[in-house]
Amino acid sequence: MRHVISALVRNKPGVLARVAGLFSARGFNIESLAVGETEDPDVSRMTVVVPGDDAILEQVRKQLSKLVDTIRVQDFRDTPCVVRDLMLVKVKTTSAKRTEVCTIAEVFGANILDMAEKAVILELTGDQDKLARFVKMLNPFGIVEMMRTGRVAMARTE
């Protein structure tokens, strides 16, 4: 089972190392990790996706909260939220296949960032499911390179 945990941390040197060190020292896996500024420049938000059962998640949550630089930890398990991940993907295209690739991009709402004779770069934002389906559609053309930012999550307003 996967859990999305979001931590508000003080924007100080070494905080990322503390969080990463906590995970490695206790043998927890990180599936993805996204870090960025928030509306308050002194505070950063880390969104961590952790595989594991409830007991592991409980320890992760508590250990994260225990860090002196952590202000608040939120687990999105029981909270209605939006989760997004951004993907850049470079796909092989010959002139014969280019239109087909562009149609797929259009259907998914992806942006075409670059186009060359042999490949295009596409950008897609979405949830896990949408990104997975997009990759599945592009696979037959040949994916040259793919990268993702890691998931970020935000609770919905009730």
Binding site: R10, Q63, S65, I71
Partner: protein, 555 residues
């Protein structure tokens, strides 16, 4: 104000009157100022690790934070074991490490190591001071963090140009740590629920650890145990939190616990853990630990709750505040059947050993008899002698036992005895040692002599790494791989070379006489006790077994 002067002012602000430290290039400007501070007692060990253990034990016996200094690079790495030791046992400590100038950091400069990187996982928190103006804030925060919540070591890495800078920010009185607010009071609903469970319990047991000592609530614990009529077992770190001589005491539990403590825990219906963390040396095989019990866990650290054992009623907070709320709700309950059973176990399986030869258990019992009426602090190293001390010396007061619990650091006892004697000059301090451990910080004999500290060292010498040898005897067909220390030096001659009085005890009939002479002597003394070589610590739970599956002590 010049950084070095401001630094001393910051220490005064934290009411620091004793520090332990070892000089080095990156500390020269700071020590140049520190030596002028006549109100701060500076103790010079001969190895940074020992200095850290001294500060650690000073904190254990006084309750005040220990303070230790080392220079950069090797000085800092020598502190690592000491910091990890304090971290595992939740001891308040502030460690200052010298560091190369800020512009050289990351350049592999002479005597540079990444101190914050190295100590991140073995400290409660750490700092690298990059801006001189942050220094007063960081020192205030470090002492606050070290001494509040679950105590622990905090490391401050101090580049030399920070201390020599001119700093405008004054000494700080307040702190701003938005992410650090330990829960103290406990949830009243959980407290009520726990009390109800205890009141209704037929076979309850209190299992108490070092948290009771850190919280200073041993008297309250005694009241709770007596009022609710619940037997008490203590961990190694909890020694002294409850008097071993009390009729409700079950002594220690776990791998080398008493039979009656381990049986009581195995058969209890409600287990009340206070300031203890269900360490693997306590629980043995998890599935068989207190299998029929509802578990109540009082602890200040939420990460300790349900980490190893699922807990039924967690109460996060300061044990003192929580026990205080529980006391009026708890009811007296005779629990005759339960106490009859426990007393039967106590009668059937007492701690015992053969009295024919010079055995370590007898030496410790004699020491207890000779010191029980005076203020005494016992420190230990790690191994068989440590377990015998826990089992055969009767601890009745908190902060009178200093031992490396979580990390199990050989070489802790001698520097700990020095730190303890400095913290409590009016106490008799005895380091119960082993011949292996003693040699890991043997150089501190000179610190003992220089400071004229009347510490007594009792080496239970079997010329073996006894605990490992015991495992080899029991589980590795007596293949004593690398544990025979028959080539030990003559400890009496070594002590005398350091200018310390030394004696040898090799006949059981002389035990009382030699120990009396040791205690009566005004200065430091070393006693080399030539004990039975292949004595074992029993009872013993083999690693990974259930704690009621003990070997030894059952016949």
């Amino acid at each position: 104000m010049k950084g070095t002067k401001l630094f001393i002012e910051c220490l005064r602000n934290e009411k620091v009157d004793t520090v332990f430290g070892y000089p080095g290039g990156m500390l020269i400007p700071l020590f140049d100022e520190l030596v002028k501070a006549k109100d701060i007692n500076f103790i010079l060990p001969r190895h940074e690790q020992a200095g850290c253990h001294m500060a650690d034990a000073y904190a254990r016996v006084t309750g005040k934070p220990g303070v230790v200094f080392s220079t950069s690079g090797p000085g800092a790495t020598n502190l690592v074991t000491g910091i990890a030791n304090a971290h595992m046992d939740s001891i308040p400590l502030v460690a200052f490490t010298g560091q190369v100038k800020t512009h050289l950091i990351g350049n592999d400069a002479f005597q540079e190591v990444d101190v914050t990187g190295i100590t991140r996982s073995i400290s409660k928190h750490n700092y690298l001071v990059k801006n001189p103006e942050e220094l007063p804030h960081i020192i205030r925060e470090a002492f606050h963090l070290a001494t509040t919540g679950r105590p622990g070591p905090v490391v401050i890495d101090l580049p030399v140009n920070i201390t020599t800078a001119d700093i405008k920010t004054p000494v700080q009185k307040s702190i701003d740590l938005p992410g650090y607010k330990p829960s103290l009071n406990g949830n009243p609903k959980q407290i009520a629920k726990a009390c109800e469970m205890i009141n209704e319990a037929e076979r309850p047991v209190l299992y108490v650890g070092g948290g009771v000592i850190a919280s200073g609530c041993h008297e309250l614990l005694l009241k709770v145990a007596e009022k609710a009529n619940v037997p008490v077992t203590t961990t190694l770190m909890g020694m002294g939190a409850f008097p071993d001589t009390h009729k409700l005491s079950l002594n220690m539990l776990g791998m080398h616990g008493t039979v009656f403590a381990n049986y009581s825990v195995t058969h209890c219906d409600v287990l009340i853990a206070v300031g203890a963390r269900f360490d693997d040396r306590i629980t043995g095989k998890i599935e068989a630990f207190a299998p029929d019990a509802k578990i109540i866990h009082i602890d200040i650290d939420p990460t300790s709750v349900s980490k190893n054992i699922p807990v039924d009623v967690p109460i996060v907070g300061d044990a003192a505040k929580i026990l205080k709320q529980m006391l009026p709700i708890l009811k007296k309950n005779p629990r005759k059947a339960w106490f009859d059973q426990i007393n039967q176990w106590k009668k059937d399986y007492p701690l015992k050993y053969d009295k024919d030869k010079l055995r370590p258990q007898a030496v410790i019992e004699t020491l207890w008899e000779l010191t029980k009426r005076r203020k005494t602090i016992i420190t230990t190293e790690v191994g068989q002698h440590q377990m015998w001390t826990a089992l055969f010396y009767k601890f009745t007061k908190p902060r009178t036992f200093c031992s490396s619990g979580g990390l199990g650091t050989m070489g802790f006892g001698l520097p700990a005895a020095i730190g303890a004697q400095i913290g409590k000059p009016d106490h008799l301090v005895v380091d119960i040692s082993g011949d292996g451990s003693f040699q890991m910080n043997i150089q501190e004999l000179i610190t003992l002599r220089n400071k004229k500290l009347p510490v007594k060292i009792l080496i239970l010498n079997n010329n073996y790494l006894g605990m490992v040898r015991q495992w080899q005897e029991l589980f590795y067909e007596r293949n004593y791989a690398f544990t025979d220390l028959s080539d030990n030096p003559d400890f009496v001659a070594v002590a005398e070379a350091y200018g310390i009085k030394a004696m040898r005890l090799d006949k059981p009939e002389n035990t009382e006489k030699v120990l009396k002479e040791m205690i009566a002597y005004k200065g430091p003394v070393l006693v080399d006790v030539v004990v039975e070589r292949e004595e074992n610590v029993f009872p013993m739970v083999p690693a990974g077994e259930a704690i009621n599956q003990m070997i030894g002590g059952l016949a």
